[in-house]
Symmetry: C2
């Protein structure tokens, strides 16, 4: 039994302004396809003979992940972290969970934010890895370098230990350009992909041997884990586990490790230049979609939504346009995007954290405009979903339904509104919005008041446990 | 009596996306200052001893111009064209108008979309020009070149004919770079600024001599001109006058012409690169305003409104961000912006014509969002202003007042709404919105219906004559 473990963390700050804290890299769609999490999930199902994957992620991403994967034939299981703690604690707890499923379970650990185009070759490598894992090996997936890449860690391979795998001589950090070129020339270096295969029992033994304190603490955490259905909530004490990667904690010390030098087309989409590389280019090397006019330009990547983007006479540029923030950068400076996010965080600018459209368990809201004494939102509610029963001290709300059917509690009254019907919720009045229909409900809300902050909300009842 | 004549035409398509057909170049604000029209108007007042200028412009720009100049001490007079017809017809009719004001009037002709920073030197040049104009000269304002500019026409100067003016040897078209450099080296070439000074009588005589058909046709047009107060409406027959510039029609043929080689700091703001040149730069040559994060970049000009713009590692770039369209261009390709507008026109894309905020005689409306079966507008109404009494066949409207006081006719009812009050206008119902208060009225309108085009409007009464 091969159980896929999908590690879905990592903010992807280099992919701002599309990747933000509330909507990070695993949820990005590259070249208009499915989001990276969904693509990883589908690879996981395919290679594990439809075994339900375990997704280890922050509890804040549960609803978002669940929505993205809602249409999958096999439902995911979730191990929800109160705080992200790097790969070693996540894998330690995942291994304990897997042991409870099946004593001899093998784990396939996959980060949620990688892109693999050549899946058959990847699947073959996984089957090879599983064989070694059954023999007690900790198996690393390497990727044969296609260029002198400086953005990855490398693994120097030793002697072959199977027709398709090698011993590991050493791990090396991200090299400089000259070193990367020499690695490429030598031929016995591979990129460290961050994917692994091992028996749950084997990795637990390794943890016990090399980081026994971490492993014991992980066991205590696991004891207190509360599960319901497919959703396991790690307790707050998880946040106290050591923030350490599986490479440092185990791989760089273990002796029963081996590496499969993969030949599949792999990218960790580490920066916008990698996104551009993953998109189909026109004859001038431009990668665009949506509403663009491109004149006399080369090697330029444009992402936009509604807004028209015109580019003239530009070369090697990234133009990433979102409703509230625009990035224009030379492709060679992809790594520096992180600096922008750091500055935004320091100045507490909302654009580091949330998009203009905010995703909630019940649907979404989008702030269309905020002005003197008013704020306008478009609200969408999923079929069957319901906002909390709530009240605002400082704002009144005018609601106009534009599509779908709303059941609205407005003080003592319960009413049903359809498209082109409206109601008024005065400040201080308890109210609730539900979608009882089987199509999405869309509603425009005009808030009026002197204070319009999101924190002016008193919740009385909530189906998502937010009271 | 020196009467300033401000020619306010010209789309400024090279300054898209800020300059658009409905809001062209004269209404642009450079470096956050007053708009170009207002700056020109204030120069005109200063140099003419507060004589009310005559603005020759398209009738569609009357309300916009009037609003921009509403706070001036001296109110403008308007000669409104049904269609733009180049400078010769406009000046011919303006001269006829001026003769009726005063037989010996002198005209100072100024395009509305130039920027002059060194006004004292300009004013001195105008006083010199007026002296020559009184002697029957057609006076051109040249500008001493400060570089080998290829974007302007040049005038080759002949012998001095006054201490401050020269004879004109010839006009030359926009030169190539080498020719422009040789003009600069020779020292007897000046840029043709497009500003003139002459007696109304002198220019009419010149028109009669060189383009008698045009002048006679202009007289017929002027006969039919209907005036009311400060506003003169040229008849439709104006559109049939020959589309010809004053340079071709008169200046290149006349013998009584002279040129003043101005030393003032002048720009015709012909393209975005000129806008950038007119803005104060930081130590790296960047010209930005608003909400920007600029890292490792040089000589880059950024214009934005609300949206955050981050630029990393870019050089010599223009980033012009508006609510519905973004331009990113190399500064050296400023001229090619015109191509974008040509393409947008060909595809009937709204962004060549209107901004997201549309200016009307009574105020503005801004489309905040349009979706399935709905459209949301923010509407502002000026104090004392009133929309037409109107009706829509296909859409209903939900109105929420967010500030100010609205008097609303809704079918047979007349009501007063204040902030946080709302009403519903069903399809087929006659309605009207007025602002009876002395502060601006702001209102959110949610339209619902299957057809939401702006052409679904029946107007019954309108104070702006649009029935």
């Amino acid at each position: 039994m091969l159980i896929p473990v999908i590690l879905s963390g990592g903010a992807g700050t280099r992919l701002w302004p599309v990747s933000r804290e509330a909507h990070p890299k695993p949820f990005m769609r590259i070249a208009g396809g499915k989001c990276l999490l969904t693509q990883t999930y589908e690879r996981a199902l395919a290679v594990s003979d439809q075994t339900a994957p375990l997704i280890v992620t922050n509890k804040n991403y549960y609803f978002l992940s669940h929505d993205e994967l809602a249409n999958q034939d096999v439902q995911a299981r979730y191990l929800l972290e109160p705080t992200g703690r790097n790969t070693a604690p996540a894998i330690a707890v995942a291994a304990l969970w897997a042991m409870e499923q099946k004593k001899d379970a093998c784990l396939l650990v996959m980060p949620a934010d990688h892109l693999i185009k050549d899946t058959p070759t990847f699947y073959a490598a996984v089957r090879e890895a599983e064989m070694l894992a059954r023999d007690g090996q900790l198996v690393l997936f390497g990727v044969r370098p296609t260029g002198p890449e400086t953005g990855f860690g490398y693994i120097e391979m030793g002697e072959p230990m199977a027709p398709f795998a090698n011993l590991v001589r050493r791990f090396v950090e991200k090299p400089d350009a000259a070193t990367a070129a020499s690695y490429l020339a030598q031929g016995n270096y591979v990129w460290n992909s961050g994917m692994f295969c091992f028996a749950a029992r084997t990795i637990i033994e390794a943890f016990d041997r090399y980081v026994p304190e971490l492993m014991n603490a992980a066991r205590e955490v696991w004891e207190k884990c509360s599960g319901e259905g497919n959703r396991f909530n790690l307790p707050e004490s998880f946040s106290e586990l050591e923030n350490i990667s599986i490479d440092y904690a185990v791989m760089e010390k273990a002796e029963n490790i081996s590496v499969i030098p993969g030949n599949f087309d792999w990218s960790d989409i580490g920066a916008w230049s990698a996104v551009a590389d993953a998109c189909p280019a026109d004859g001038m090397g431009n990668t665009t979609s949506g509403n663009t006019i491109v004149i006399d330009s080369r090697n330029t990547h444009i992402e936009n939504s509604d807004r028209l983007v015109a580019a003239i006479g530009v070369d090697n540029l990234l133009i990433i346009d979102t409703p509230d923030a625009l990035l224009v950068a030379d492709k060679s400076k992809s790594q520096e995007v992180k600096q922008v996010v750091t500055r935004l965080k320091a100045s507490q600018h909302a654009a580091h954290k949330e998009h203009r459209t905010v995703v909630r368990p019940w649907g979404t809201y989008t702030v269309l405009e905020q002005g003197l004494g008013f704020k306008i939102k478009r609200i969408t509610v999923k079929p069957g979903a319901s906002l909390s029963l709530q009240m605002h001290h400082h704002r009144s709300e005018h609601w106009v339904v534009t599509s779908g059917t709303a059941e609205i509690t407005n003080g003592d009254e319960i009413m049903t509104l359809r498209a082109n019907q409206s109601t008024y919720i005065p400040a201080g009045c308890k109210h609730r919005l539900s979608n009882l229909g089987d199509t999405e409900l869309c509603m425009i809300e005009v808030q009026c008041g002197h204070y319009l902050g999101e924190d002016d909300i008193v919740r009385f009842e909530d189906v998502y446990g937010r009271v």
